[in-house]
């Protein structure tokens, strides 16, 4: 491995543009807050406090671990990275930052640098990525296990993928090295955040197993609806605000989009979510006779996730198509995963984040005007499925031996709140025990 020549430095940033992007990044955590609300609402009432505390703890652990280890691996586009040479090409596989952030967080000689904002963007991204599997493990994943998975994602998995896509790594350089369009495009974190989070959610569900009584010996799977539809739907609205800021900030930071491109980026984000909600509502209305509130929330989020990959590079018409596909596929896939392959995913994160994220990445290639862009996107998707998913599975399987993911049967019976926190989220309400598996 040899340090390679630094990639092209990001264009100089004016003071006003710096302030604008910084403001966008201050609004972006609303996406995290919305997702936390939605995930909590989709779980059971007897685990609500543990779920919400877990959201906070996971964000905290992810940010600290990323600051200590991860940011050094993620690096940034303006600094050199570590590369090996294969077939005459340099494959930049890791950043060369310093532990504990080094100088990454401070602008060089007090100037306004896109690098500083990029680091801040990555901090928010790692928090969101680490949060996604927590919703899938609701009602049986221990708090310690949730924090441990966050540490693994923030310290190992996310930094590499972030470097490959945002830090001048080999995926971003596919355009320069192999002539594949502009290289792998992921302006809003569809790969680095949502696909990683969704695929990690799949491994968590595989390792922890389904909730007790979810798949009885006979008949269909047991319906375990979320305890608070208001949380779920309010979370979707809060997420929209965060997503608008997130996609706009990503477009400026990673695609160097001009300010004049931001209204279309924001419009595409809204359109994708809106048509996805309409499509999901229509599909569930057709399938079940009435629109399903939690499924509609999943459709809305799937539209937002799909827009993360391509809101800055497609037209509003194409964005409608992308959201439509995401909205139709979401309820069908959630049902298929539960009924056909016994996957108990309370938050629907596997479909909403992994599948919709990968669809958005593919769509960015499908609608790109540059030749070779589709192939670049497919190479990125192949990396997520072929390298990231098995690696996460291996890491989580090893982690499960040290920090068991699943709570003991008694904890699952009385609820995670009482078992792990000693008190419930709603002490004045009657909380139903699980009597389905005496």
């Amino acid at each position: 491995m040899n340090p390679i020549i630094p990639a092209a430095p990001p264009p100089a940033m004016s003071e006003s543009l710096f302030a604008f992007v910084f403001l966008l990044l201050l609004v972006s955590p609303l996406a995290i807050a919305g997702l936390a609300l939605t995930n909590t609402g989709l779980g059971r009432s007897r685990s609500a406090a543990q779920a919400m505390l877990g959201n906070l703890a996971i964000v905290a652990v992810a940010v600290v671990v990323f600051a200590v280890f991860g940011a050094a691996i993620a690096g940034d586009a303006s600094s050199s990275g570590h590369a090996f040479h294969l077939a005459g090409k340099a494959w930049n596989w890791a950043g060369s930052g310093r532990l504990l952030l080094g100088s990454a967080a401070a602008g060089p000689d007090g100037s306004f640098s896109a690098t500083q904002l990029g680091v801040l963007f990555e901090f928010l991204a790692v928090a969101l990525a680490a949060l996604i599997p927590w919703g899938s493990g609701a009602d049986r994943l221990r708090l310690a296990a949730g924090c441990a998975t966050a540490a693994v994602l923030a310290g190992i998995v996310f930094p590499f993928v972030a470097h490959w896509t945002w830090g001048g790594g080999w995926l971003a350089g596919l355009g320069a090295t192999f002539g594949l369009g502009s290289g792998f495009l992921d302006q809003g974190g569809a790969a680095s955040v949502h696909a990683i989070g969704g695929l990690s959610a799949l491994t968590v569900v595989w390792i922890a197993g389904p909730r007790k009584g979810k798949f009885p010996k006979e008949g269909f799977s047991t319906a375990m609806p979320g305890h608070n539809a208001v949380y779920v739907l309010a979370g979707c609205l809060v997420s929209l605000v965060g997503w608008l800021a997130w996609n706009a900030a990503g477009a400026i930071l990673w695609l160097h989009a001009p300010l004049s491109a931001l209204p279309v980026t924001a419009l595409n984000t809204v359109l994708s979510a809106a048509i996805a909600l309409v499509a999901t509502s229509a599909v569930t209305r057709f399938r079940f006779g009435k629109p399903d509130a939690s499924m509609c929330a999943n459709g809305w989020l799937a539209g937002l996730v799909a827009s993360s990959a391509c809101a800055a590079v497609v037209t509003p018409g194409q964005s409608l198509f992308i959201g439509l596909v995401a909205g139709v596929a979401t309820p069908l896939l959630v049902e298929l995963l539960e009924l056909a392959v016994s996957i108990d995913d309370p938050s629907g994160a596997i479909t909403v984040h992994a599948v919709a994220g990968i669809w958005g990445l593919l769509a960015a290639g499908l609608f790109a005007p540059k030749a070779g862009q589709l192939l670049a996107q497919i190479v990125g998707i192949a990396t997520l499925l072929g390298l990231v998913l098995p690696t996460v599975y291996l890491l989580f399987a090893l982690l499960n031996r040290v920090v068991p993911f699943r709570v003991d049967p008694d904890g699952e019976r009385i609820g995670m709140d009482l078992h792990e926190l000693g008190g419930g989220a709603y002490p004045e309400f009657v909380i139903h025990r699980d009597e389905s598996y005496r």
Partner: protein, 60 residues
């Protein structure tokens, strides 16, 4: 079976990388990249199938 599926998936990834390195011709490169992705999807299918639980069980 689940481990076999998870081992097949990196094989598909390396096929994709090999296609980038070995084939400068865009058409042939594209075909082999798609083949790599197909191998990954096959591995994912096997892994998912391997994780399906017998009814009534809650943990793998």
């Amino acid at each position: 079976m689940k481990y076999a599926g998870l081992l097949v998936m990196p094989a598909g990834f390396f096929l994709t990388i090999a296609a980038l390195v070995l084939f400068p011709d865009p058409a042939r490169r594209g075909v082999f990249v798609f083949c790599g992705l197909a191998v990954e999807c096959l591995g994912l299918g096997v892994a998912i199938r391997g994780h399906i639980l017998p009814r009534g069980e809650s943990q793998p």
